[in-house]
C-alpha cells in the first residue's frame, strides 16, 4: 500500500512540476536548453537525421529489421501525417524495417476494447496508442513492456520533466511515452452570456456561479441555445467522470480516495455533487446526453457554433473550434478554470494524455521503440500539439514555432500549474462505471441526491469489494 500511496503522491506532483518547466519553456524559449534535437534539428520527416534526433547512433538497437505493426485510433484526422512521418523516418533509418500502420477511425473507447481483445488472445500490434490512465491496468495484465531499458539509452528522455516521467511510471517502471498532456477548461460562449446580461470576461465566483450563469442564459430565452452541458451516465463515457463528476467532487472539497487508498463512496461532498446534478438536469442541461451516442460530439459542436453556453471539456477541444474558424473562436469562446464551492483556488484536471505503448508480446520490440522515438521528436510533438492543442510532454517541443505562436497553447500550459490529478489506480475504470450509474440515476430523475450517493457506495462496493470502499 505504501508504494501505491507514494505513487499517488508523486503523480499528484506530476504536472505541477511539468507545468513549471513547460511554462518556462513556452514563455522564454531561449532560456531553455533544447538538447540535441531542437526545433530545427531532428527532421524525422526528411529522414536526414536518425529518428529521435540526438546522439543515439542509428544502430543503437543493433539494427532493426522486419515489420513493425503500429495501431492507433484517430477520428479527428490530425495524427496520421505525423504517424506516417515517423514511419518514413524509421524506414529511412533502417533499410530492413517496414512499418505497417493500422489507423482505426473509431473512438478511443471502441479502439481500446478491440485492442484488449486482441492482446487477451495473444495477438495485437507491436506498438499502440491509448490513454495514459490505462498504464496501471495494462501493466497489471502484463500486456505492456516496461520501457526502462529503452529510455535509459535515449538521450531525449532528459527533455521530459521529472513530473511527466513520474506520470507514466507505475510500480517503479516507465511504461509509456506521452506526447501531449491533458488539461481541461470550463468553456463559455461570450456572446451567449452577454445576451444573458453577464460580462464577456465572465468568471464564476464559485461552483454555484456556473448554475447561476446557466440559469441566466435559460431565462434570457435565446432561441436554440442550451444553457449548460454536464456529462452524466454511461453515454458520457469517461467524460462523465473526468469532465463532470470528478471536478465537481473536488470543487466541493471531496476526494476520490482517502489517505489509505480506499475509494470514497457516500460523503458530504458526494451528496453535494449529486444535488448539483439534480439542479443541472432540472432544465439547464439537456437529457439527450443520457441517451445520445457520443454526446460530446453534439455538445462540442454546439458550443463551437454558439448553441451551447457552458461546457467543461478537454483543452484539446479548443483546437477543433479554432481550426474551423480561428477568429470567431477567439472572439466568442472564453475559457476559465473550474471554480470551487467557496471561491477558493480554481483548478483544472491534468493527465498524461494519450501515450505510445509497446506490447509485451511484440516480436519486434526494438522496432516498436524506434517508431516511438521517431514519433516523439521535438518537431512532431510541437507541431502536433499546436494542431491538437495539449501542453507538450517534452520541454524542447514548446520551442517549435507553431506551438508557441498560439496564446491558447501558452495559457493551457500555464493552467497545468493548477492541475489536480486522478489517482493512477487500476481500479479507476470500475469507479468510472459507478460514477456513470450514480450520475445517470440523478440526471434521469430516478433517485434524489442522498439516495444516489448511497447507491454510489453500493455500486463501488460491488465492483471493488467492501475492503476497498469507505463512506464518510
Amino acid at each position: 500500500m505504501d508504494e501505491v500511496v507514494r505513487q499517488i503522491i508523486t503523480r499528484r506532483r506530476f504536472l505541477q512540476l511539468a507545468a513549471a518547466s513547460a511554462v518556462v519553456a513556452a514563455c522564454s524559449p531561449s532560456a531553455v536548453s533544447t538538447g540535441s534535437s531542437g526545433p530545427g534539428g531532428s527532421t524525422a520527416a526528411g529522414g536526414s537525421a536518425p529518428a529521435g534526433g540526438s546522439g543515439v547512433p542509428p544502430s543503437s538497437g543493433g539494427g532493426v529489421t522486419g515489420t513493425i505493426n503500429v495501431s492507433y485510433p484517430d477520428e479527428a484526422g490530425l495524427k496520421p501525417k505525423y504517424v506516417e512521418q515517423a514511419a518514413a523516418a524509421v524506414k529511412a533509418q533502417f533499410s530492413g524495417a517496414d512499418v505497417k500502420i493500422d489507423l482505426q477511425k473509431v473512438g478511443d473507447d471502441d479502439f481500446y476494447t478491440k485492442l484488449l481483445l486482441a492482446l487477451d488472445s495473444g495477438t495485437g500490434p507491436d506498438v499502440f496508442h491509448v490513454g495514459g490512465s490505462s498504464i496501471g491496468e495494462l501493466a497489471d495484465a502484463s500486456y505492456i513492456e516496461p520501457l526502462d531499458d529503452y529510455v535509459s539509452q535515449w538521450a531525449d528522455w532528459s527533455q521530459y520533466p521529472d513530473a511527466v516521467k513520474s506520470g507514466v511510471t507505475y510500480k517503479g517502471s516507465v511504461w509509456a511515452i506521452p506526447y501531449g498532456l491533458d488539461m481541461r477548461w470550463l468553456y463559455y460562449r461570450k456572446d451567449d452570456l452577454q445576451k444573458a446580461g453577464l460580462a464577456a470576461d465572465w468568471q464564476p465566483a464559485n461552483v454555484q456561479g456556473i448554475l447561476d450563469a446557466a440559469n441566466a442564459v435559460k431565462n434570457a430565452k435565446e432561441s436554440n441555445v442550451l444553457p449548460y452541458a454536464l456529462y452524466a451516465g454511461p453515454a458520457g463515457s469517461s467524460g462523465t467522470a473526468d469532465h463532470a463528476f470528478v471536478p465537481l467532487l473536488w470543487a466541493y472539497g471531496g476526494e476520490l480516495q482517502d489517505s489509505s487508498g480506499k475509494w470514497i463512496g457516500d460523503s458530504p461532498a458526494t451528496k453535494k455533487v449529486m444535488a448539483y446534478y439534480q439542479k443541472a438536469y432540472d432544465g439547464l442541461s439537456p437529457k439527450e446526453i443520457l441517451t445520445s451516442t457520443k454526446p460530446w460530439t453534439a455538445m462540442r459542436e454546439k458550443l463551437g457554433n454558439g448553441q451551447l453556453a457552458l461546457l467543461f471539456e478537454g483543452g484539446w477541444v479548443y483546437g477543433g473550434w479554432a481550426s474551423a474558424d480561428k477568429a470567431a473562436t477567439e472572439k466568442n469562446v472564453g475559457y476559465v478554470l473550474h471554480p470551487t464551492e467557496t471561491g477558493g483556488p480554481s483548478f483544472t484536471i491534468g493527465g498524461p494524455g494519450t501515450c505510445w505503448y509497446i506490447s509485451s508480446r511484440s516480436a519486434n520490440k526494438q522496432g516498436a521503440w524506434e517508431f516511438i522515438k521517431a514519433f516523439n521528436t521535438a518537431d512532431i510533438v510541437g507541431k502536433l500539439n499546436a494542431e491538437d492543442p495539449h501542453p507538450v510532454a517534452r520541454k524542447d517541443a514548446a520551442d517549435v514555432a507553431e506551438f508557441k505562436a498560439s496564446k491558447y497553447n501558452v495559457d493551457a500550459t500555464a493552467a497545468l500549474e493548477k492541475a489536480k490529478f486522478v489517482p493512477p489506480d487500476p481500479g479507476y475504470s470500475k469507479v468510472i462505471e459507478a460514477i456513470q450509474k450514480a450520475t445517470a440515476r440523478v440526471a434521469a430523475g430516478e433517485l434524489g441526491p442522498d439516495d444516489a450517493a448511497k447507491r454510489y457506495t453500493d455500486d463501488l462496493t460491488q465492483a471493488l469489494g467492501a475492503d476497498k470502499v469507505v463512506s464518510q
Partner: protein, 299 residues
C-alpha cells in the same frame, strides 16, 4: 431380423452423416462458446488488471454477486417488458395481422399487396445495425426526422429516446422483426386448403369464426415455434438497443444481453459478463421448454 437391423443401421448412419455438418457447426459456434462461458462464469477473468494476467477460480461468487446486484432485477424487468412488447405483442401480433391481410389481398389479386410485402421485407433484410441507425435518424433529438417534422409544424421538439426510451426501442424492434413472423404465417396460410373456408361459409361462419375455429388451430404448432424463435431472438437483442439508447437513460432500456455485453466488454469483467450470459442461456432454455410443451399439448 438381421437384415432389418442392418437396414436400420445403414439408415441411421445416413441420418448421422446428414446431421453431422449441422452438429459440427452447433458444437463449434454454440456448445463450445456456451461451455466456455460456463467455465468463465466461475472465474474472475477480466480483460485488464491483475485478473487478466492471473484469472482465479472463484466458485459461485459471480452468481452470488449477480443475484445480489440491485441492477439485475431492473435488467430482468426491462427484458420481460421488451420481449412482451416487441416480440409477443409487436412482432407476433403485427406479423400475424400483416400475414392475414396480405394473404387476403393476394388471394384477391390486389397488386398493391406486393409493394406492402416488399416494404415489410426490406425492414427485415436490413442488417440490424442499419435498422438501428435508421431509427436513430428518426428519433434523434437534434437532427431526427420526427423532430424536424415537428419543427416544420411549429411544435417544440420531443426527447423521444429520453421520455419514452422503452417504447422507442420496442417500436424499432417491432418494425424490424415483424416481417419474419409475417413470412412464416404467410407460408402457413398458403397451406390451408380453401375448401375448409368454403365449407365454413356454407355453414354460415363469419370471418371472425372462420379465423378462430379454422385458421388459428391450424396455425398453432407453427405459432408456437415462431413465438419461441422470436422470443429467444428478442431476449438476445442488443445491437438495436445499443445503437438507439445504449441501455439508457439510467438503465431504463438495459436488457440482459446488453448488460452482459457492457460488463464483459465495457467494464472488462469477462467472468461476471459470462455469468450474466449463462443466466440468460438458462432463461432461454426455460422458454424453449415451455413453448415446446405448449405446442405439443395443443397440437
Amino acid at each position: 431380423m438381421a437384415v432389418v437391423r442392418r437396414g436400420r443401421l445403414a439408415r441411421n448412419r445416413l441420418y448421422l452423416a446428414g446431421l453431422s455438418p449441422a452438429a459440427f457447426l452447433l458444437a463449434l459456434f454454440f456448445v463450445g462458446p456456451a461451455l466456455w462461458a460456463l467455465g468463465s462464469s466461475f472465474t474472475n477473468r477480466a480483460l485488464v488488471g491483475i485478473d487478466a494476467a492471473n484469472p482465479r477460480f472463484v466458485g459461485l461468487d459471480n452468481y452470488v454477486r449477480l443475484f445480489g446486484d440491485p441492477d439485475f432485477g431492473r435488467v430482468i424487468l426491462n427484458s420481460v417488458i421488451f420481449v412482451i412488447g416487441s416480440a409477443i405483442i409487436g412482432q407476433f401480433v403485427l406479423g400475424l395481422g400483416l400475414a392475414l391481410l396480405l394473404d387476403y389481398a393476394q388471394r384477391r389479386g390486389f397488386l398493391a399487396s406486393n409493394f406492402v410485402y416488399a416494404a415489410v421485407l426490406l425492414a427485415w433484410v436490413n442488417p440490424t445495425i442499419i435498422a438501428g441507425f435508421l431509427w436513430v435518424a428518426m428519433f434523434d433529438f437534434y437532427n431526427g426526422s420526427l423532430n424536424t417534422g415537428l419543427h416544420v409544424l411549429g411544435v417544440q421538439p420531443i426527447n423521444w429516446l429520453g421520455q419514452g426510451p422503452m417504447l422507442a426501442v420496442i417500436i424499432a424492434n417491432t418494425w424490424r422483426g415483424a416481417a419474419f413472423t409475417m413470412l412464416i404465417f404467410l407460408g402457413a396460410l398458403r397451406t390451408i386448403p380453401t375448401d375448409i373456408y368454403e365449407a365454413a361459409r356454407v355453414d354460415g361462419a363469419n370471418a371472425y369464426r372462420r379465423f378462430w375455429d379454422h385458421t388459428l388451430p391450424i396455425l398453432r404448432p407453427i405459432a408456437a415455434l415462431t413465438l419461441l424463435s422470436i422470443t429467444m431472438a428478442t431476449f438476445g437483442t442488443f445491437i438495436l438497443i445499443q445503437t438507439l439508447t445504449n441501455g439508457g437513460p439510467a438503465f431504463q432500456t438495459e436488457v440482459i444481453a446488453l448488460y452482459a455485453f457492457h460488463e464483459a466488454f465495457q467494464n472488462h469483467a469477462v467472468g461476471y459478463g459470462s455469468t450474466i450470459s449463462v443466466v440468460m442461456l438458462a432463461l432461454n432454455l426455460g422458454f424453449a421448454i415451455v413453448f415446446l410443451r405448449w405446442s405439443r399439448a395443443r397440437a
